[in-house]
Amino acid sequence: MKYISDRDYDYIINKHHDASKPWNGMGRFVRRDEIFDPATGLDADALREGFLAQDESIKDLPHPIRKARALEFIMKNTRISCDPRDRYPSVNANDRPLKKTIIDNWKREVLKETIPEIGKKRSYLENAGIVTIWPDYDHSVPVWERVFALGFAGLLRESEEARAKGTWDEKQEAFFEGIRITYEAILTLVGRLATLAEKTEGSERMAKALRQLQIGAPTNFYEALMMDYLYFLISEHIDYLQVRSLGNFDRLFYLYYKADIENGVSEEEIRTDLAYFFLQFVAISNYWNQPVYLGGEKADSSTEINELSYLFLDVYDQMSIYTPKIQLKLADSTPKDIVYKMLDMIRRGNNSLVFVCDKTIREALVRNGATEEEARTCVVKGCYEHGTIGSYSAGMNYLNLLKPLEYTLHEGRDAVTGEPAGLPCPPPSAFDTFDKFLAEYERQLANVIDLTVEVVNGFEGYLAEMNPLSMLSATFPTCLAQGKDAIAGGALHNGSELMFGGLADVADSFTMIQKHVYEQKTLTLSEFVAILDRNFEGEGDEIFRQALLRDREKYGNNQKRPNEFAKHLISIFERNLCGRPNNEKRGGTWSFGTHVARQSYVWGDKSLASPNGRKLGEEVSKNASPMLGQAKSGATAAILSVTELDASVSPSDFALDLGLLPSAVRGEEGLDAMYGLVKTFQKRGGHALQINVFDADTLRDAQKNPEKYADLQIRVSGWNVLWNNISKEEQDGFIRQAEALC
């Protein structure tokens, strides 16, 4: 089924930028103004000059008002487009005009002038590859229930009503004023889009929907999609605040869907609106992709999955797209057939689908202060993070677990830079028992955690100075009740999160140290350190490294010792971080998880070779996953290892990335087996499961870099073999098989 004609597809995919041109360094499309009709407004350069000149004249006003005025200038003057080949309008703001100007300046002011010592520490931690810390504008989700129920106009009205009811100080007044200006500007922009659509032949339906959203809330499925899209577009690209979920789609949109069907709208029409909606995100093509989630559970423990969930996946599947990326909130009540449907999509190469286990995330939230009801209705956002509705959790803080190991083994020094980055400690020869070594690691790690908390707590009180969030705050009832920005403690829960990478590397390194130095005594700890210092490049080192890599006593093979070390690492965070207060203005607590995104590569270059056989420059293990190539006992053992960790200890990430070969999951038995993996992961309290069925490209990479794929197995009925054990010709056969499957 084709929902979008080639003519329309070509228009949409190019409507923000020329999709045939290469991407910029951040993996994004390069801006192109001329796509937008000059008659509709200023080009991006004139726009920037305009709002900056205006800002010069109001420098004494509070930041929420200055930002709102800049937003107002952009929304009144930016170029826009409507076209009969599309069902959604477009705004020329893809390069986020506020980011490199006002907001980055405010960030610089805070970190360089207001709290320079904290700013310096932050830079040091980042440059040395210890902890990467960014102000987090990337993990918010508006209260979609209110956005849909009230529309932009209703959100403005409620804010003004709250403002009128209370007595507010100057700062609070500025907060409400920021919302007022922002939302009036949004209504202006929606009005401009409506007017343009009215003048555009063939865009009458779009015009009508936009007019409705200018005055009120969406009244049908198409208007609700338009609302979702507009909120996203304005927040993400104009307001500079990522919208990390389009919401619990099936739950939020079901009423509109049902009413439309009852009113005689055809399912075909709904599918087509949805297809054009999806394509907007492909056209914008932010490299971080746009999340949206399905499923969950109603208050009576029945499933939130409904016929719209299936329709949604159907359209998505038929379009063969990779964004939005979809999470399924997997509960006990989630029907088996929707899991099968997703698994079938995954094995055909769709890697944009993730399972997030409902029970685990609810437990984690309740353990950390949420009510049962807040936990039940929690949002899934970003990759697989979660949080209660109307909360703001800041978590762009990534800690490299390998660095404290370097300090422990180098008298407190960073072994790559030679800097005294850790706490001074005795040389390796002083650790005459494994326990002494382990205790020193804990001390070094606790110190890095303390440093992180000091830096983050130091600047998180200024988040609203750097980027006040008027648009988001208007959707949070707690913000309106307190006259306080969502990012400054106005949200329901205001946590901070520390993510760490290298869990498998360090658990495996501990295992190898204990085994070789303290049990088998094949070498001393000092000798081991010397080998790491020369990056396994001395005589005989490679043989030793192979022995380390070959050893199956690694995290991911369901072996007791590395599993216990992984649990021990988690417990260090539990003791040293969990529940600690974050910045007093935000008034929340700290939590932690294992998600590191791209940091695993950045740190790889900055982290000395490690005792598990990893060399300098090789990526650091990520998420709760085993080290690449080390889960040699297969998918079931990897799941058993990962689910040994208590993923409900902290409301954060313990995701497993699981690779499977197309040949292992073919046929009906293949689906049954995948389902068994997912359900066991869920039953054992896992958090998030990302299954990748390796495509031909991956297999080609495996052919070129066999060392990275030592655990890759291929399967043909009753027969199995390691990828690395078969000849090139035979590998080619499997690559062809994978090609055929995609």
């Binding site: 070959r550 297969g634 998918a635 053992a637 049954d672 087996a673 068994g676 066991t680 043909v716 499997f734």
Partner: protein
């Protein structure tokens, strides 16, 4: 009691229903031209050498060399003596996966029923632990071997390679009389059987219709699987220093489809 095992495969999902762990027993009475598990043919342990994986660690030059010490995993020992007590915990490790997927443990090979006494004991222990069991057999085994395992086996995965005896001899070097009789016996005993037919062009592709007619009167066959011949086993033969005469031609999709259609039409049994 010990058995010679050449491999334990976890997350085996094409050896019966659901997620399974498959135990490969060493030694096989047949010599199929297309055999893809050559390491399972002889009863005695063998050391294979995957030359391209050798990193020159030198461990194999030592007198008391154990292939497990080979750092490049270039030398692989196929065939380890194991007791039921040693195997059992390994097979129970994935029991939660068996439960969520309707899977269990499969005994395969080689021909596992060559070591039938051991199989019976192992299967018994698995059943005591509530594990679903499958026996993957070529059928070329004494009746007593079947009798030993029947009480503890939930499903037999049973190979039929040809109906015509001459064709069977040409393909496997053995007659199929015992095989066909044993299958009838299993059916009489009311055991659930899944038939597996390796489809090897130019060898047994003309047997499909005959096999179908033979199978049509059976009452306990749950399904028939046609397993397309593949030629990925060449590396294993080389690593084992064994000659092979693996057929060259692979089955086409049309051939497979038509074979399944014939089986389905004649037997009225599911043939996915």
């Amino acid at each position: 009691m010990k058995a010679t095992i050449f491999e334990l495969k976890r997350f085996a999902d094409h050896d019966g229903d659901g997620i399974r762990t498959t135990v490969f027993f060493k030694g096989c009475p047949l010599r199929c031209v297309w055999c893809h598990n050559p390491e399972g043919l002889t009863a005695l342990p063998q050391i294979a050498f995957y030359e391209h994986k050798c990193i020159g660690c030198g461990k194999c030059q030592k007198e008391d060399f154990n292939p497990d010490a080979c750092l490049g995993e270039a030398r692989v020992l196929y065939g380890k003596e194991m007791t039921v007590e040693e195997l059992l915990p390994l097979l129970l490790e994935d029991r939660e996966f068996y439960e969520t997927s309707g899977g269990g443990v499969t005994l395969s090979g080689g021909e596992c029923l060559v070591q039938s006494e051991f199989c019976a004991e192992l299967l018994k222990r698995l059943k005591e632990n509530g594990i679903q069991t499958a026996v993957d057999t070529c059928g070329f085994v004494p009746r007593e071997a079947l009798d030993k395992v029947i009480p503890f086996t939930d499903v037999f995965l049973y190979d039929i390679k040809a109906y015509d005896e001459d064709v069977h001899i040409r393909c496997t070097e053995r007659s199929n009389k015992i095989i066909l009789e044993n299958l009838k016996y299993l059916d009489e005993q009311g055991k659930t059987v899944e038939i597996r037919i390796p489809y090897v062009p130019d060898y047994n592709d003309r047997e499909i219709e005959k096999i179908a007619h033979f199978l049509k009167d059976f009452t306990h066959i749950s399904r028939i699987r046609v397993l397309p011949y593949h030629n990925y086993a060449g590396s294993k033969y080389r690593a084992l220093g064994m000659k092979h005469s693996l057929p060259e031609r692979l089955p086409t999709d049309e051939e497979l489809k038509s074979a399944k259609e014939i089986l389905r039409c004649i037997t009225k049994i599911s043939c996915p």
